[in-house]
Amino acid sequence: MSNIIEMHDVCKSFGDTEVLHAINLAIKEGEVVVVIGPSGSGKSTLIRCMNCLEMISKGTLVVDNIRIPEERRRVRQIRLEVGMVFQQFNLFPHMTALENVAFGPRKARSMGKSKAEEIASDLLAKVGLAEFSNKLPGQLSGGQQQRVAIARALAVNPKVMLFDEPTSALDPEMIGEVLDVMKKIAKESGMTMVVVTHEMGFASQVGDRLIFMDDGYIVEEGKPTEVMKNPQSKRLTEFLGHVKHH
């Protein structure tokens, strides 16, 4: 399997503060990578660099054979192939669930309205929200909104899906429904996924690889169960201790 995303010595700075230090990382097609780490460790920044919501400061990023920074004019093409799900859902408040999901195919992929809505209906059914098509985001629960957001990202038919703490803003009883949808996508469609999360159960069940970040570095990586069982660093041991207690 070839690499869909590669990072070579990628650094990211905000002003004078460097938050990612010379990251080297390759993600294979079909791989599910789970990124964990304490708050401020750079895990969100890492995946936001992958669809150029943050432009890397140094190094090279290759996504689907497009090289950044050399080909930064092709950022939109990268985004067509890399979907993203956000912690705060970020559904368009003036569009119904169906319109939210159909928006990407219609505008980014220039599809006709009926074809885009057909895709959107199918995806809403897939995330278990067929009967909520005509609801506005404000009329949906957090878990439902996040499932619409997942369908919206999938609708553009990307090769990679990025999840930036998709369950962190949810009430506990709604986390399960969102994780179930994510597991379904990973298992049924073989989608390449990069997931920033604190859900260790999800990591061990679906993850092919676990990455532990701290202070802008990748500190440990490997098979999720092994990394969790035998943490090599003191930081990861501590971190796992904190996560398990919740």
Binding site: R79, N90, F92, P93, H94, K107, A108
Partner: protein, 240 residues
Amino acid sequence: MGFEFSVITDSLPALFAGAKLTWIITLLGIAGGMFFGILAGLGRLAGTEHLGEKPHGLPAYVAMAIRYLSGGYVETIRGTPIIVQAMFIYFAFPMIVKGLTDIERFRIEALTAAVITIVINAGAYIAEIVRGSVMSVNKGLLEAGQSLGISRFQLIVHIIGPIAFRRMIPPLGNQFIISLKDTSLFIVIGVGELTRQGQEIMASNFRALEIWLTVAIMYLIMTTVLAVTLRQVENKMKIF
């Protein structure tokens, strides 16, 4: 001198004619003001993160120039009285044209000058309303749009525009009403709008109470129409 109701009925035709002119200046003025306001309001945000990705290289300099140009317009207009602007357009501007060209008898109709003044003046204030509303759009929604791979134009038209517009309505209502009342200042360049009609009738019959009461009520009716219309637009969009 008691309150004579017949004074009012006698003056109504002239006052209605004035009100009609006030209405025309206002509607043309706010339509043009919306055009310039949206242009300058977005212009002041050109090249900032509020309109999507920040540009690099040459486009960044173009964006900066647009920002300064729009900012200059807004600050100049906000910083000078509307009555001075009207005088400038009606009296001074034709002199500039005559001085710079060979046109001998260049002149601007008073009504045209009035409409231009409202367009330029309202445009500057509307620009700030547009700027504020666009800035208030949640950054996460821009990122959600960008992450789908849409263009900046699509982002502005389909995401930023509709969300910002909803928030513009209350301050726009303010501005439309202010512009309507500002038309009364065109008495100084001789436009026969409502206030001027009132003034002329008053000068011939000295019935200040009846005339100014009627004029005030007519303004109140017109501003109410504006307010109610905008409220209806607002209610239509209330769901989000």
